[in-house]
Symmetry: C3
Subunit: 273 residues, 3 copies
């Protein structure tokens, strides 16, 4: 399955519209090229509808959202919805400010997302609202462990059902779920958290995967998570003693570039719950 | 000739003002440093006239143009014109939206450019206007091949004459032309298209070349194209099995850093038509 | 001393709020991760007060300042002051435009900075105002050499006293001074000036060092300068013949990632004046 999903990306080479932060945007562009897709970055309200219309998917990332780009996110999202294009939301840092929380909540209410991808704290904030986050920390721990996996899976499915979207909660164990099924993914390496924007890169990559596999968004999103995690492992194995997080950053994108369908099929470590 | 042009860049170390996109801006800065020039990025309307005044050349790239930076492009361009500084236009994605097409056309009418550099689709859109692009696709194919080279050269010379500028159409075969002569350049590697912003980097590099060789803009622009293509070849030769587009990105800039006048003189593959 | 300062950064893992330029922002984020801190970039006026409130330090860099982000710098700076968080100013290119000079001067008058870090031209412009820079070039040369070191140290101490801040003047010889003492630092490599944003990276790194060592800002700032310079040396030693400034960029951040307290203690080259 994973092999076919990746090969569809390579064969269909989707054009992906990114409205994303300026911190990790270059890596998002290069990882899209690495996987065989093409990136376009455009964030002015006057052009986002046209740009997203010529693309196969839209990736909205609020990492450096601002008064100028927020209206562009809504305009592009609505247009992508009107055209039936897949849309991915990366609610970077939601909960860290009212602006992020309100923008992400408003996006969720006005735009239909195909996939919502974030870490467990971000998804929790989306699900529970900024004001109540502390109250449920004990129930749904921020870090998904073997012990908390069953409750996290249930939470993910519920959130997916409520939003009619696939939800991807990434961390030491990743959960990619729709209302009925959850892929629990064990790929990845802790060093990935030392590179800025591996989450952003994954959201961009996932948009390409979902755009190239329109009938299987759950599996496509899970495949992107497996691919990113597996390439984190491959990249780590390549590191020498003098290498640090900067070389690791390069090696991860290199690994995505060289990833074959067979390697993904063999390397994906997951279970379905 | 190529050797002298590069050595002028190294000796004169021009300061280059870039109003460019946030996707590839870091690579533009580093490639300018690699070639011996210095970058300044400044895009606020309140300061671009002053910044461009202290520079030797201006590079305008519309890759992530927006309502705030578009007026800055005009203000900087006019000031550079008033001072006789060379100005390069990179019309990234022109044709993909009305905003891009209108902005690029307005820039062409209000600012005198020394060089206009884009891929064949971008230059076609500039030449023919957004509405008529489809009508001439058969005449001027988007990809320049050996068969279409004569018509592409004629098109480039005509466009150069009309705009009083050097035009650089880059692709598998690059054409750098003024009204009378065209350099057809055969350097480069297909892998360069897997790195985001190699075109943006070339435009930045070209601005430095033209700024350091003010009396020979055609040759300076052609030299920059040869240099970039040659370094794409050198960088590709350096790749190991685990390397992908991210390492290749690094190797290209490294190669520009280490490029000597003699290597450029020997490595440039071109003909004049 | 240096060892303890670095180990505090690793142990306390400060969250650093950066309002910085879009040219070198990715490197700033990755160098913060490399040293064991965490980056947040946020520049919208509606959220910077909240964002800086949850952080341990604030880094303000005017490299691509604009009409939208300038008010954010003031709002964040005031909030950080109100909370007693350390604030670092990197006045990139001050003197190159009225906007930069006026913004930097206004920031100095409205925000209390813990450290002001720039090259000698930038600090001179801050100290003397844009209009009078030429008048004192003979006294305080732009490049600090062994001959001009005594006068540069005196200048740095005076500027530090006037602003109630640590001042870090970086160049071939670095000076980090408060009103009473100056660390003169001899680490570093000339190749560092061929990588865009090594100064920006240092300012980000320094914010983490100062945030993790709140009682010794002078020593913390000096430690960051030693660390950056030492890693510039380590990275240079790693370069092969084909490497250029792009690989060097990667190696510097890698070296920060692998830097130990013992290596910093042994490698720091400095004197106190």
């Amino acid at each position: 399955m994973w092999k076919e999903i990746l090969e569809n990306v390579r064969a269909r080479a989707p054009l992906v519209h990114n409205i994303t932060n300026y911190v990790t945007v270059n890596d998002c562009a290069n990882i899209l090229l690495a996987t065989g897709a093409s990136p376009i970055m455009a964030d002015d309200e006057q052009e986002v509808q046209e740009i997203t219309s010529i693309c196969g998917g839209l990736n909205i990332n609020i990492g450096t959202l601002n008064s100028r780009t927020i209206p562009s996110m809504f305009a592009a999202g609505k247009q992508a919805n009107a055209l039936g294009h897949p849309v991915v939301l990366d609610p970077v840092g939601v909960g860290a400010s009212g602006l992020r929380t309100q923008t992400a909540q408003a996006l969720l209410s006005k735009v239909k997302f195909t996939v919502i991808r974030g870490n467990s704290s971000e998804i929790k904030t989306l699900a529970l609202g900024a004001g109540t986050t502390h109250g449920v920390d004990a129930d749904i721990a921020d870090t998904v462990t073997k012990d908390t996996l069953p409750s996290a899976v249930a939470f993910a499915k519920e959130f997916a059902q409520k939003n009619g979207a696939v939800v991807a909660i990434t961390g030491a164990i990743d959960i990619v779920a729709d209302a009925d099924r959850a892929y629990c993914i064990y790929n990845g390496h802790p060093m990935m958290s030392k590179v800025t924007g591996t989450g952003c890169q994954l959201s961009a990559l996932m948009t390409a995967y979902v755009a190239a596999n329109p009938n299987t968004p759950l599996q496509a999103a899970a495949a992107a998570v497996c691919a990113m995690g597996l390439c984190g492992e491959v990249a780590f194995a390549r590191m020498s003693a003098a290498d640090g997080n900067a070389s690791y950053r390069t090696y991860i994108i290199d690994a995505i570039c060289n990833l074959t369908g067979d390697a993904l099929e063999e390397g994906a470590k997951y279970e379905v719950r």
